[in-house]
Symmetry: C2
Subunit: 464 residues, 2 copies
């Protein structure tokens, strides 16, 4: 097979245009098939990564079909006329992945249409008083002013975040109504029909979005905060062994992947902000009240990123060229491993606390432990243990130690902000303080079990 391709490739150069076209045509089905296979693989992966995508696609199909058929059947069609197509348009444009986004767009669209319709009607009326010559000039002026001002308002960051779509629809509806050229009663009739079809479309979209496997942006934001902390925890968990391993110890690809997981945290800002914006539209659902402190997640997110930047700097020292020598690393191994392990446990417990919406209890203990390790590292540096070693060789190790100390303080800040979230959102507390103390002491000493342990605490409080 390969031989054949090579021969055909070499003969291409001398062959005439027809022969080349024939070869191209002969290779086409195979090319198309391989393209198809690669696309299908990607599609499968997209679905496996997040099965909600498949459900969402089916939901959109369902909502559009419902509205389309509603539009198709003639009795209804006669009633609403051409404006019925606004129902289809509304569903297509308003239906988004999460409930918050759909609600936001729907409310934006509805309110903007109503307000702009009223204003446009007023403008139309006002202009019609001014006589035949002045009317188009006046209308043109109104449209120009409104479009320019509202477009400028769209640049305000706050307006852009929440009302961008509404402002767009506002311009659109105002222009359509004010310049429509219909008589007043026709305009009113049209406006009423259009509004009712938009309501039908919006209601269909919302109904399907909320009642069939809803996707809540709030849930996503909540989970993202937890997952990001967990990713940092996983890096720190693996870091100790990776940095202090002897050259003979290999590393599996899987370990490397876990270590690189933190990278997605570095660029999470935009996702978090848009999720928070959507979440603010969402009603009470599941474990979340209507005015859940979504803003606090952004604060946690920014501190998590802060920690991720430091981890990024630390990650540079994992490559062998920048590593300190074996003996020097051995000297700081114990406290450094302890610090990274304890920070990892603290982050993972915080993540678990957010996930289960309980007050983080053992995290503080881990942070205290990591601080003790930092102190012991500092006092170790004070001793004369280092007098005979070359300072140049110590520098990379000292940097790693120093970055780890920074990460400890960063973790503490994250813990504080999670505690703040816990009190703002009334996370359940582990009631029996005696039991909790005992439990957390246990989990501090055997910190490797980390997450599993917390699940135990959680289970034990639930059964109370």
């Amino acid at each position: 097979m390969e031989m054949e391709q090579m021969v055909s490739a070499s003969s291409h150069a001398e062959a005439g245009p027809f022969t080349r076209a024939w070869h191209w045509l002969k290779a086409l089905p195979e090319k198309l098939w391989s393209k198809f296979v690669s696309v299908a693989t990607k599609a499968k992966k997209l679905g496996q990564d997040d099965p909600r995508r498949i459900v969402h696609s089916l939901k959109v199909g369902l909502a559009i079909t419902l509205v389309s058929l509603f539009y198709y059947f003639e009795p209804l069609y006669d009633g609403l006329g051409v404006s019925a197509m606004w129902a289809v348009l509304t569903v297509v444009v308003v239906f988004e992945f999460s409930v918050g986004a759909t609600l936001g767009r729907g409310v934006n669209r509805g309110l903007a249409t109503l307000l702009a319709g009223a204003l446009g009607f007023g403008a139309h009326r006002l202009a019609s008083f001014s006589g035949n010559i002045c009317e188009p000039i006046l209308l043109g002026l109104f449209v120009f002013l409104l479009a320019a001002v509202v477009t400028y308002i769209r640049f305000f960051p706050r307006m852009k975040a929440r009302y961008d779509y509404g402002l767009l629809i506002f311009i659109l509806t105002f222009c359509l109504i004010s310049v429509s050229g219909y008589r007043d009663d026709e305009v009113l009739d049209m406006a009423q029909k259009r509004l009712s079809t938009i309501l039908i479309g919006g209601a269909t979209a919302l109904f399907v979005c909320v009642f069939i496997c809803p996707v809540w942006a709030g849930d996503d934001l909540h989970n993202l905060a937890a997952i990001n902390m967990e990713k940092l925890g996983s890096f720190l968990e693996g870091f100790g062994n990776e940095y202090f391993k002897t050259p003979s110890q290999g590393q599996s690809m899987e370990d490397k992947e876990i270590l690189q997981g933190y990278r997605s945290v570095l660029n999470s800002k935009t996702t978090e902000e848009s999720l928070a914006n959507f979440a603010k539209w969402e009603p009470r659902h599941g474990r979340f009240r209507y005015r859940h402190p979504w803003q606090q997640y952004l604060r946690i997110g920014s501190l998590t990123r802060q920690c991720a930047y430091r981890i990024e700097a630390l990650n540079g020292y994992l490559s062998s060229e920048l590593k300190a020598s074996q003996e020097i690393r051995a000297k700081i191994e114990d406290p450094c491993k302890k610090m990274s392990k304890d920070c990892s446990c603290a982050l993972k417990e915080l993540a678990q606390a957010v996930k289960t919406m309980t007050k983080p209890s053992a995290a503080n203990c881990h942070i205290a432990n990591s601080k003790i390790a930092a102190k012991s590292l500092k006092s170790m540096l004070k001793t004369g243990l280092w007098q005979d070693t070359d300072l140049l060789e110590i520098v990379p190790a000292a940097t790693v130690a120093s970055l780890l100390i920074d990460i400890v303080s960063s973790t503490e800040e994250i813990a504080e902000s999670v505690n703040e979230l816990a009190s703002l959102a009334n996370f359940r507390s582990v009631d029996n303080t005696e039991v909790a103390k005992g439990e957390s002491k246990l989990s501090c000493s055997s910190s490797i079990k980390g997450p599993h342990h917390i699940i135990t605490i959680h289970a034990s409080t639930q059964s109370e």
Copy 2:
């Protein structure tokens, strides 16, 4: 005045509802006025930050007014009928800030309407053959399948980046046409009218967007890459003096602001990616060819962010609690200041080279200098100069030195990627190598002048 307010505030608690309402009403104009003033200030600042925003708003107003009046005048209105409103709709929805975004949306909208119209007409025809009972079922099935599949395709990252809007319009048009319930000739007539109005709207939007003070996404991306490098350079320029200053030396607010400028680089990924996507739609303009290597800017951007992460770690050591003692800092002052100054110069020269689209000539020299400084720092660490000092006190200083060495290598990587861009995009080179050598040597020794110097080189080559 304040006294009065205090008195009125204290009397509120005991006052009846009417008195309170009266107080509220009395305070209302003032409140509204202060709100208005704050909004006006913000609006002014938005305009000052980027005057193109004001121009853009006026442009949108103009384009919509043009199309609206076109729609308003009756002779034309009779010709195109209700579909004329699609022209207004197209302008409002397609007109974006940059030419690339507008072109992308326009092309997406036009192509999607054409394709979906044809497909929808086919589906409508096919279903009409199947008899009265089967027709709605078949149509519903078509709509469901197409909407679900195309919605799923929107999740593909590549499709989302470039064709998201087109896919949306595709679903919309297909549903509107296939379910329209008109007779075949009516559908064709309608489709033809709608397409022509969309073309009119799209052409108006594009015309105004391109020919009146155009905003090119490519220019923005190009400048952003340069500005980001410059911001990092400004931090490094100020870092040396800031870190090694004696406690008696104060710091102005302005210096602090310049030092914090790098923070915006940390989260620049999303902006860069969307600008690159828009830029790919843009035709040849100004200094850019049609197939300008926009992808390379993303590579430069990611390396710049890498460097910014390290600077973020470095920035933590500027706060006084983490600073090493005066004497220890004094020992490493010379090479560290040199490293940060040379890196700063290199970054600023690279930024200047990108801005002026010339091959960076002196940057390599600066990088070589900073490497020499790094070496001298390393050899200084080797000497016995440190035997009598406490290691714990050295650690923060060692970390700073180590991070600076990392930044040097990061700068080198950035320089490589800028060189790659220079050869991909055929940047002008400084021809006379002898002159260039002399010039760059000069600029290396008096590196403080940095940017100004490059402008001189640039001017001298232009006059040749």
